[in-house]
Amino acid sequence: MERPLTQHIISDTSVRNLENYRKVGGYSCLQKVLKSMTPGEVTNVVKVSNLLGRGGAGFPTGAKWSLVPMDTVKSNLPKYLVCNADEMEPGTFKDRYLLEGNPHQLIEGMIIAAYAIQAEKSYIFLRWAYKKAEKVLRTAIEEAYSAGYLGNNILGSDFNLDMHVHSSAGRYICGEETALLNSLEGKRALPRAKPPYPALNGLFGRPTVVNNVETLSWISHIVEKGAEWFKGLSLTGTGGTKLFGVSGKVRKPGTWELPLGITFRELLEEHAGGMIDGHKFRGALPGGASTDFIVEEHLDVQMDFKTVAAVGSRLGTGTMIVLDDKTCPVSFIHNVEKFFALESCGWCTPCREGLPWVEKMLSSIEEGTGKIEYLDLLSFSAKYMSPGNTFCAHAPGAAEPLQSGLKYFHDDFVKHITDKKCPWR
């Protein structure tokens, strides 16, 4: 089984330095691109490969790039490429693995992506807590500059690119690409209304592409080996492998690069080693905290964007949080909703006012003071915060574990209220 993204991450240090990365073929793709490919050709390969964004939304990367205007009008310059490395989705730690383990793979991917959209400046917007990744990236970028992969006239071509690491101030909402752009500009991290999309009106009002770490890490591989190779990697038609992860009461929590389309069961039982003895699987948030619960009956579903969506959830980041029978589901959901309430940016009403209300009701139920009408109110709140009603996807994301939790763990909620206490305490 091929593991293109992680094959060279053996120990902490192996490919981090430029020499080792070059030894395994690093930057050869960049050379080829700059010598023999037009920006349009690069975009086209990525488009044909059907690489779907690995940040969670699964938007086709090539399509995103194609929206960037390629005429050189003053109001279109400079263009920007931004790497979203603000990995703050609860339970998700896949980008960190790539950032710390193979920074040059990301940098090379970014240079090729920047070339494809003809961006002159690029930023890596990094989660504030990723201190080690920051150090690794800064060193790698310095190496890339010294080796002529960054800066002016890269590898003798007329392509110029600067790259900066921006260590963020630490807000979940910065993972939303437009809030990220505002934050990068030094403004409050509020999402922007779309349209206009960042591809036209992005960083500092200029055309900008924002891609996830894992997405950008794919670029050199896809351009090097072709779209067909990429498509063949997955068990479904989507294409590629994906970094999956599991946390919770499992024997071997961790992250693995596996083909898109493996089943939940395979991930859980083979790779994560199954549940710890004495714990039973009750459900899981399959792709981070902002996805709907899956339960026992879904374990044989294939992990891909479409297949997971078909059972009412989302693949998201592909890193699942497992709920076991020794953990109170109300407390679990309360914890998740508290996180979302605290991370609301405060811009739109349903999110700013709705989430704290949800959090208070859940807390009250968990404490044994909840009322039975809260269950209707919680369902109402989940609908109130649905997509379109809110300014961005934050509150709808928060509504996902809530609405599915109310469905799958209804009896547990009722028991809390009728017994006036948490059965797990």
């Binding site: 109001s75 807000r171 409050r188 922007r192 209304a193 349209p195 206009p196 036209l200 009106n201 500092f204 009002g205 309430a341 605290l342 991370e343 609301s344 940016c345 405060g346 811009w347 739109c348 009403t349 349903p350 700013r352 006012e353 709705g354 989430l355 704290p356 209300w357 208070k360 009250s364 009408e373 109110l377 109402f380 109130y384 379109g388 009603n389 809110t390 300014f391």
Partner: protein
């Protein structure tokens, strides 16, 4: 500007409409009279989609029955759009938004200053939310002391973000911001302190709840429904913003902005809003005072005794001299002129100010140059400001220039197909673009931050820059020799920008007291006019009726020279603010009897032999002409008490005494206006201006009071048990009553905004053709200057003036302050707290040479006058120059520019 408006057909709740394409759905519905509740959208601020209250259902096509919820403020109006406002799901979502806002909004309406004119109350009712389901504690905040104007009560905040968007994005303020996040966002300052922006008072109207309320109203609080209101016009600068003046129990309670689509739009400055308090001053002149003989004290007298005295003063044998005022109405000035005779009527302004304003008004009458309204200033794409510190001399013009600075960025947005109402996207895209705005002033200007280039020098060099620009455009225009090396290059740059512009605008004025600056500004306008037709020229004048006075016959009172008078009548004017002490003292010595009409005591009233209590703007009807040449009328909000009378009424009385053999037929204001229009052709349009006192709606006058006005029969019960009758009020089409038609009076006669369901200022939508557009029936005011065919270019030649200054002396220029430099507002307690002590700005190098520090107190000598001032170092003042606070309360008059020196105290 393209006049072509694209129309599209849309369907709202099954009805089709043909509407303008470039609007969003919310403003379209509001224009059509379809109520959609909303908070964060404001017509002047655009849409941001934050509050989610304006949700409606949008359908893909006719067959789509499910539809989806969209925010109408963010929905472009496109051909074939099908929406439903009444859709049950959309309605219920809107109610949910209110419900969730109410989880934290306190239930303190009965003690909240906003109650009764609260947008949140209106929207709550409109949305249909009633029962509370939230049973947890509410969030609370700490409030801040924001200074003398604004009260802060953060618990009431519903986080619509309008305040910061107005304060920061629209008005350029820095010290109000949004802090923290989630459901704990906080709108305030980083710490307690007075709000620094000159437009902070608009927060009161922009805020949809009671977070920001009027602190001066709080001192004598009255609910909106209990106020008696009159359409008024601001008297605190030459711009003439429209206001609403509100009364209860005989005192003026507050000033609010009154919409005028051509002038101030939704906003007014803080001097205009809070300067009103002088009207209620305890020290107002309330009774007639008489000095029995020179040397005696002024004593109050009754009317009978007054008129027996006046019979002598105004006998035909006596020669009378009248001194008019730029802060008195046209009618009062004209009545004085009629009383004294044209040849004996003088303008109560310095010779220099007379010369400058006369030059300007003559130029406007003959040149065919267009004087822009504030709205037109906002449309200018290149602006050159010559010598005027707009933020302090005409604040609302500065605010309009700030909006004009967005025109080039807005063009970028249009090119990118981003609708201009999409506020954040437009600002995001345009953040690196600025419009060409050039500012030449003697000291740093707060508009510098939006200027492409700011130029600092002496008034002499500022004028030189102006002359050079004119010369660059037309070589027939005279040039001036500058001593500055970089000036020619800058002149080339500015003239090129002006020539390139579609809507170039020159702004200048008389505040520097410099002919060169005024002449140069007019020259630039003339040369541009000769090359193109659409140049605009805005000249800032000192006072609310400076323009009106300058259009009347007569010259400066400084031209009185040795003329002696039996009776000297001074109309609403403190001459010690207009000329040096010696001159004014001498003038008074040459007059046997001095009659002064004014509101408050000042150095001139002290010298009067007969002092007459004159009604303020709030207590009278009257017409004033703003710097644009727009005649506007204010109406009485407060009934006159004691012996207070409108100046023109006093003067009409005097005329009747003097002309007792004629039967004078001036019985009311309209009669004077008619005579004025007949006698002085420049004012001939005045009679066409607006409904006269005979105007009736539904057979009755327009009520000043809302239909919910309380205590009508009991309000005077402490004086008399029987209900007092309505005051006669013959001069206006308004009445002091709640009876009559409450909705949609003529645009110039709007006493308050109200329509069913809309009790807050947002009721304004129903008075406008479209949000931020013109008023139904046209915007108030009539312009006296209309473009005439271009005259031959006559250019003003620069006088050979030496900028030489005596050794060891500094050139001194005037430093105007929004708070303090205007006479009447300075007497308001709230404004007086904002007045800084007299100061002198000097250059850093001079400070080093003269061995003085910032904050030092020094004695400044200009000619024979001395004044104690505080030094301030820096502020862009050039070496060898200084700027001196102008006309602050208690300061004597200095003729500036001048030169002087100081020594440390």
């Amino acid at each position: 500007m393209s006049l072509e408006v694209r129309m599209v057909k849309i369907t709202i709740d099954g009805k089709s409409y043909e509407v303008k394409a470039e609007k969003n759905l919310l403003e379209t519905c509001l224009s059509l009279g379809i109520d959609i509740p909303h908070f964060c959208y404001h017509p002047a601020l655009g849409s941001v989609g934050a509050c989610r209250l304006c949700a409606v259902k949008k359908f893909r096509d006719k067959d789509d029955t499910k539809g989806r919820i969209v925010m109408s403020c963010m929905e472009p109006v496109t051909e074939g759009l099908i929406v439903s406002v009444e859709d049950p799901e959309a309605r219920s979502f809107r109610a949910s938004v209110i419900e969730s806002l109410m989880t934290n909004h306190p239930h303190d309406c009965p003690v909240c200053d906003e109650g009764g004119e609260c947008h949140l109350q209106d929207m709550t009712i409109m949305s249909g939310h009633t029962y509370r389901r939230f049973d947890f504690p509410k969030r609370t905040y700490v409030n801040q002391d924001l200074g003398p104007f604004i009260n802060h009560e953060m618990n009431r905040c519903i986080q619509c973000y309008r305040c910061v968007r107005f304060y920061r994005d629209y008005a350029g303020g820095r010290d109000l911001n949004v802090f923290s996040s989630r459901n704990h966002v906080y709108f305030g300052r980083h710490k307690d302190g007075t709000l620094q922006n000159e437009f902070s008072g608009n927060l009161v109207e922009v805020c949809p709840t009671g977070v920001f309320t009027d602190k001066t109203l709080k001192k004598h609080f009255t609910r909106k429904w209990d106020l008696s209101n009159a359409p008024s016009v601001c008297v605190h600068c030459s711009v003439g913003c429209n206001t609403i003046a509100s009364e209860r129990y005989g005192s003026l309670r507050r000033i609010m902005s009154r919409y005028n689509g051509a002038v101030n739009g939704y906003f007014i400055c803080d001097r205009g809003r809070f300067g009103y308090e002088f009207v209620n001053d305890e020290k107002r002149i309330k009774t007639v005072m008489l000095r029995a003989d020179k040397g005696a004290e002024l004593e109050p007298i009754n009317d009978e005794k007054l008129y027996s005295n006046l019979n002598q003063s105004f006998s035909k044998k006596k020669n009378i001299t009248g001194i008019g005022s730029p802060r008195a109405t046209l009618e009062s000035n004209y009545a004085l002129m009629t009383l004294a005779g044209k040849e004996n009527f003088y303008h109560g302004i310095s010779k220099k100010e007379y010369l400058l304003t006369k030059t300007i008004s003559d130029y406007f009458l003959t040149s065919g140059i267009h004087t822009p309204s504030l709205k037109e200033i906002e449309k200018a794409d290149t602006i050159f400001i010559l010598g005027e510190d707009l933020t302090n001399t005409a604040p609302m013009v500065a605010l309009a220039v700030r909006q004009a600075a967005r025109n080039i960025p807005n063009e970028e947005a249009k090119k990118n197909h981003i609708p201009l109402w999409n506020d954040i996207a437009v600002r995001e895209l345009g953040q690196n673009e600025v419009s060409p705005i050039f500012i030449a002033t003697t000291y740093n200007d707060s508009l510098d931050e939006i200027a492409e280039k700011a130029f600092r020098s002496s008034v002499h060099e500022i004028a030189n820059l102006g002359y050079s620009i004119a010369r660059n455009v037309d070589e027939k225009a005279p040039d001036a020799k500058s001593e500055l090396k970089d000036l020619p290059e800058l002149a080339v740059r500015i003239s090129a920008a002006l020539l390139k512009a579609k809507n170039p605008l020159i702004i200048s004025g008389v505040s520097n007291g410099d002919e060169g600056i005024v002449d140069a500004a007019l020259n630039i306008a003339s040369v541009l006019r000769s090359k193109r037709s659409n140049v605009m020229l805005s000249m800032i004048l000192p006072e609310c009726n400076s323009m009106g006075l300058s259009l009347m016959p007569g010259t400066s009172f400084e031209d009185l020279g040795n003329k002696e008078s039996d009776t000297l009548i001074i109309l609403e004017n403190d001459l010690y603010r207009r000329s040096g002490n010696d001159f004014v003292n001498d003038l008074f010595k040459k007059s046997s009897q001095i009659i002064v009409l004014d509101h408050l005591n000042n150095r001139t009233t002290e010298k009067s032999d007969i002092l007459l209590p004159a009604a303020t703007f709030a207590e009278s009807e009257g017409t004033i002409i703003n710097n644009e040449g727009r005649a506007q009328r204010f109406y009485k909000a407060v009934e006159n008490k004691n012996q207070v009378k409108e100046s023109w009424k006093w003067l009409v009385d005097f005329i009747q005494i003097r002309e007792s053999d004629h039967s004078y037929s001036w019985n009311r204001l309209d009669d004077i206006v008619e005579s004025l229009a007949n006698e002085l052709p420049v004012f001939s349009k005045l009679t066409k201006y607006m409904p006269d006192a005979d105007f009736r709606m539904l057979n009755t006058k327009i009520p000043r009071q809302t239909m919910r006005y309380s205590g009508r029969t009991a309000i005077n019960a402490n004086i008399a048990v029987s209900e007092t009758g309505l005051p006669a009020d013959p001069d206006s089409p308004l009445k002091f009553s709640m009876e009559g038609q409450q909705e949609n009076p003529p645009s110039s006669l709007v006493p308050f905004y109200w329509t069913p369901g809309w009790n807050s200022v947002q009721a304004m939508y129903n008075y406008l053709n479209e949000p931020d557009g013109s008023m139904k029936g046209g915007d108030p005011g009539i312009r006296l200057f209309e473009p005439v065919p271009a005259a031959d270019n006559k250019y003003f030649k620069p006088e050979i003036r030496s900028a030489e200054v005596k050794k060891d002396e500094l050139q001194i220029f005037p430093l105007y302050r929004i708070f303090g430099s205007e006479e009447l507002s300075s007497m308001s307690p709230s404004v007086s707290q904002m007045i800084q002590e007299p100061s002198l700005l000097i250059n850093e190098k001079d400070a080093v040479n003269l061995m003085v520090n910032d904050g030092d107190l020094v004695m400044l000598e200009i000619l024979n006058d001395k004044i104690k001032v505080k030094l301030k170092i820096g502020y862009g003042v050039q070496p060898g120059m200084a700027a001196l606070s102008m006309n602050l309360p208690g300061m004597q008059y200095f003729e500036l520019p001048g030169s002087g020196k100081f020594h440390k105290l």
